[in-house]
């Protein structure tokens, strides 16, 4: 969240306090978990990977948003042989090189990563979704963060590889108004393969006030570093939507970007945009979405789904909003929901989506299409700064059998004490009852009593409500040291992916995330 739920979002403070007392800092709880099973090993993390994460750091005794992006190279046998990162922390923006770093992967794809730079060593828990991608959470005492990493294609480490349309989504903290405020920026641009940028369009949401669509100011560019960092790590610099960034190339279809206009701090990703002229007809299926950020009452996370008919109409709309612990579900009791969408003329993929619950009111969003099945999504309702992802859904029906298998997950949240980040493995079976089990590490940031938890097992029911493409429920309870329940609403994207938003009714928390199938 940024200040977002990715910013990213949460747990019951009182129950976590009991966890804290019993197992904070221990890598293996009493009566430890069974040996992990699966086919992963150190050999499955081999090559060059780009990563991006954001979170909360301790700074002069207070919490502060920070973000990091970079590249590391792993040798397949537990060693990080090189790498580089850019960090935007409370003391400034720095580019740091990795030395003498290590990692370890267990059979279930979970593992640890320790990255050493000139300031010291930072530590992470990771879960591989495949040999080319995974999720990551920082587990240091004074820093928590979460994000993802993907294997880099070194053949794309050049300006010519970055060409044609890209859609982006940045979130963080801006300082152009004072005091600093939460900000989300989504948009698109065309890269010319030589460092030039044209047709730049963006929508900024600054402190819950949408900018409406703007053209990029003068000065937009991108440039892969020419000092060796470009060819070695895929690093470059750019000016996008009026802001300066360092970026790391995953491949020609994906960039990870970190804002360098300190003290402002943004981060996000850019994705290659399908080279078509987008119209309303481009949206013609079911879609699921997950967004997160902040509102005037605190952290907010929202998940949902709708069906777009290709002609501007939205139907079968469901939504779960957790706004600082206040839950809003659509359709509301006695209410019905109707909606519409538009796609901009000009074909660049921008558009709007709006729906109204007859009892709960209107919800408004904008998007930029990456393709007819994928978009970045931003809420534009007053006093809400929240953004995320919109993905085409399977037509369904979704069944327990279709979802059975192993998944990597990452959740991020906020409780009254601060940010929390979770990473682990979830196992789903087609059995009725307690068909979800898993194990996770998580980091609870706190100025007063930060704690890290490792190898925490959980189990519970994943209840699919036919047809399964609407809101389902996942309720899992940790088994150590005392039962702690996590209640989620789950929107299934397809048999490989689902979005989760916390739906606690007996404690104040905001949490959201996703899970992705492992092979």
């Amino acid at each position: 969240m940024s200040t977002s739920i990715k910013r990213w979002v949460l747990l019951a403070a009182i129950l976590l306090a009991s966890l804290t007392t019993a197992c904070g800092g221990s890598r293996t709880p009493v009566g430890g978990p069974p040996p992990p099973t699966g086919n992963f090993s150190n050999a499955n993390l081999k090559g060059q990977y780009a990563f991006l994460m954001s979170g909360t750091e301790l700074c002069s005794g207070s919490s502060s948003f920070f973000t990091r992006a970079g590249s590391f190279t792993s040798d397949g046998s537990g060693h990080i042989t090189g790498g580089l990162e850019d960090v935007n922390v409370c003391t400034g923006v720095f580019t740091l090189q990795f030395t003498n770093s290590t990692y370890s992967i267990t059979a279930d794809g979970r593992g640890t990563l320790s990255l050493t730079n000139s300031t010291g060593t930072t530590n992470y828990s990771i879960t591989l979704a495949s040999t080319t991608a995974g999720v990551i959470a920082e587990t240091d005492v004074n820093l928590t963060a979460s994000g993802s990493f993907q294997r880099q294609n070194v053949a794309a480490f050049s300006n010519p590889a970055i060409a044609n349309g890209y859609v982006f989504d940045f979130a963080g903290v801006d300082y152009s108004p004072n005091p600093p405020v939460p900000t989300s920026i989504i948009g698109r641009f065309s890269a010319d393969g030589g460092g030039g940028i044209t047709n730049g369009l963006f929508d900024a949401n600054i402190d819950g006030v949408p900018s409406n669509q703007q053209a990029f100011p003068q000065g937009a560019f991108y440039q892969v570093d020419t000092n060796g960092d470009g060819t070695n790590f895929g690093r470059g610099t750019a000016n996008i939507a009026g802001h300066n960034f360092a970026f790391y190339i995953v491949d020609a279809t994906r960039l990870k970007l970190l804002g360098t206009d300190f003290p402002a701090a943004f981060s996000g990703e850019a994705f290659a945009q399908q080279n078509i002229s987008f119209t309303a007809a481009s949206l013609n299926s079911g879609f699921a979405f997950l967004i997160g950020g902040s509102s005037s009452t605190g952290p907010i996370a929202t998940a949902g789904r709708f069906t777009a008919d290709g002609a501007g109409n939205l139907t079968s709309i469901f939504l779960d909003e957790n706004n600082s612990g206040n839950l809003t579900l659509l359709p509301s009791q006695g209410g019905t929901v109707t909606g519409t969408y538009t796609v901009d003329t000009g074909g660049f993929g921008g558009g709007t989506a709006t729906w109204t619950d007859t009892k709960a009111g209107t919800f408004s969003f904008i998007f930029y299409l990456i393709s007819p099945t994928n978009a970045v999504f931003q809420e534009t309702d007053s006093n809400i700064t929240s953004d995320g992802t919109l993905l085409a859904q399977t037509a369904g029906p979704v069944s327990p059998a279709s979802l059975a298998g192993d998944f990597a997950f990452v959740w991020s949240g906020v409780n009254s004490d601060g940010e929390e980040d979770f990473v682990g493995q979830l196992k789903l079976t087609s059995a009725s009852g307690n068909d979800a089990t898993g194990i996770m590490d998580f980091n609870q940031f706190s100025v007063v009593s930060p704690n890290q938890f490792f190898n925490i097992q959980f189990s519970g029911p994943f209840t699919i409500n036919p047809p399964g493409t609407g809101p389902n429920t996942l309720t899992v309870t940790t088994t150590f040291p005392s039962p702690t329940a996590f209640n989620f609403t789950a929107y299934v994207v397809d048999s490989n992916t689902a979005f989760l938003v916390g739906a606690e009714t007996n404690r104040v928390s905001v949490i959201a995330g996703s899970f992705v199938r492992q092979p």
């Binding site: 200040t3 009182i14 909360t56 301790l58 700074c59 002069s60 207070s62 919490s63 502060s64 948003f65 409370c90 003391t91 730079n117 300031t119 060593t121 930072t122 004074n142 820093l143 903290v173 300082y175 108004p177 600093p180 405020v181 369009l201 929508d203 402190d207 669509q213 309303a280 509102s295 005037s296 009452t297 605190g298 501007g312 109409n313 139907t315 469901f318 706004n323 600082s324 206040n326 809003t328 579900l329 359709p331 509301s332 009791q333 209410g335 019905t336 109707t338 538009t342 901009d344 921008g350 558009g351 906020v414 409780n415 009254s416 409500n465 047809p467 609407g470 809101p471 104040v508 905001v510």
Partner: protein, 160 residues
């Protein structure tokens, strides 16, 4: 969205969720918790008021939304629930609150499913004043430290 670029396609508003063609969703709805409509209202700066009173109780980690510290403030018109945001932000700014304190708050009331809550933008106690929210209501608890960092050369605490 800029009107010259975003053209709203003619809307068709009459599609209801439970038309026969959408019967596939009937079970989904039946299993769905149905709540009375109550979306947390946004901070409305035009409705800002000043409230003065005596602290009846202070809770750093409230069990009711919104997340964070709450006061119950006894005012001339009764007791009201006051939301302050993250308690750590108060602590970082050496702002303490306790039963019996006389405080003055500037903010706006918001309705939630649990009842009305007063979202504080500025709180004053004695000669001390602390801004808790931006003019549009966003809590400052996360972002503010970076502002201080930019001005005061903050201390890193551990590896970065």
């Amino acid at each position: 969205m800029q009107t010259v670029i975003r053209v709203r396609i003619a809307a068709f508003f009459s599609v209801l969720l439970l038309l026969p063609g959408n019967a596939v969703w009937a079970q989904q709805l039946a299993n769905r918790p149905r709540q009375p409509a109550m979306r947390t209202l946004a901070y409305d700066a035009t409705q800002e008021t000043v409230v003065e009173g005596t602290v009846l109780s202070y809770t750093a980690e409230s069990a009711i939304p919104p997340i964070g510290a709450h006061l119950i403030l006894q005012t001339a018109s009764g007791a009201i629930d006051i939301h302050l945001g993250a308690a750590r932000f108060l602590q970082a700014n050496n702002f303490s609150l306790a039963k019996g304190d006389s405080v003055r708050v500037v903010g706006a009331s918001s309705d939630t499913r649990q009842g009305a809550v007063f979202l504080v933008r500025v709180i004053q106690k004695g000669g001390q004043s602390l801004v808790l929210r931006t003019a549009n209501g966003a809590p400052l608890s996360v972002a503010r430290t970076r502002a201080l960092g930019a001005q005061k050369a903050p201390q890193q605490e551990g590896a970065r």
